[in-house]
Amino acid sequence: MNVALWVLAALVVACCEVAARSLGRSWPTAAQLVRSGRANLAGRLILVISWLWLGWHVFAR
C-alpha cells in the first residue's frame, strides 16, 4: 500500500498544529478553527452535516 502521500499530508497537518501550539495565540490551532466555526449557526450546521455524513459513510455505507 502506497501511503507516502498520506504520511506527507499528516506531517504537514502535524507541523501546523505544533506551530500553533508553540507560537501562542497568533497562529490558530485546529481546535480554535473548529471553535470559530461553531461560533455561528451556519458553521455549526455545516459541521453537524459533515459529522452526519462521516457517520453514514464509515458505519452505514
Binding site: 497537518v13 501546523c16 495565540r25 497568533s26 459529522w51 452505514a60 455505507r61
Partner: protein, 171 residues
C-alpha cells in the same frame, strides 16, 4: 493585616466548608458515573451497529437514529446546563495579525493538500496501491473489526455531542 486570610470563626463554619466540598465531590462523582455510563452505552450501540450488514437499510437507520438521539441530547444538555464561562489567562502579548494570516494560510494549504491527496488516490487504481482515507479507515475499523468499530462509533458519537451543544460563552 489586610490581605491575610481570616481564620474560620467557628467549627460551624468549618463544617459548612466541609459539607460544601463533600457536595462538590459527590456531584463530580455523579457526573463521572453518568459520563462513563454514556460511553458504555455508546460502545454497546457501536457493537450492535457492527453486527448489522454494511450497505444495508438497517445499518443506515440505526446510525441515523443514534445520531438523532445524540443531537437531541446535545440540544437538551446545552439548554439545561448553560455552562460557566471559562477563565482565560490574560495574554501578555496581543495576537499578531500577520502571523494569524500566515497560520490561516498554512491551515488552508494543509487542508488543500489532504484534499488533493484524497482526489489523487481516488482517481487512480488499484485501491491497494492508491488508498483513500476510507480504504485506510476500512483496514482499521472495517466490518470485520468489531471491537475497534464500536470504539470508533463511540468516539464519533461523542464528537457529535460536542458539535451539537451550543458553544459556551467566553468572557
Amino acid at each position: 493585616m489586610p490581605g491575610d486570610r481570616e481564620p474560620l470563626a467557628s467549627s460551624k463554619d468549618q463544617r459548612t466548608v466541609h459539607d460544601g466540598l463533600e457536595a462538590m465531590r459527590s456531584n463530580l462523582l455523579v457526573r463521572a458515573a453518568l459520563a462513563g455510563l454514556f460511553i458504555v452505552v455508546l460502545g454497546f450501540c457501536g457493537y450492535l451497529e457492527a453486527s448489522l450488514r454494511p450497505f444495508g437499510l438497517a445499518s443506515s437507520l440505526f446510525t441515523f437514529c443514534v445520531a438523532a438521539g445524540i443531537l437531541l441530547l446535545g440540544a437538551i444538555y446545552s439548554t439545561l446546563v448553560p455552562g460557566v464561562p471559562r477563565a482565560i489567562p490574560p495574554s501578555t502579548q496581543p495576537p499578531e495579525r500577520s502571523l494569524r494570516s500566515i497560520g490561516l494560510a498554512a491551515w488552508a494549504l494543509a487542508g488543500s493538500l489532504v484534499t488533493a491527496v484524497e482526489l489523487w488516490e481516488l482517481f487512480h487504481a488499484p485501491r491497494s496501491s492508491y488508498p483513500t482515507l476510507s480504504s485506510l479507515a476500512n483496514e482499521l475499523i472495517g466490518p470485520g473489526h468489531r471491537a475497534a468499530r464500536s470504539v470508533a462509533f463511540a468516539c464519533w458519537a461523542i464528537c457529535g455531542l460536542a458539535l451539537s451543544a451550543r458553544p459556551r460563552r467566553r468572557p
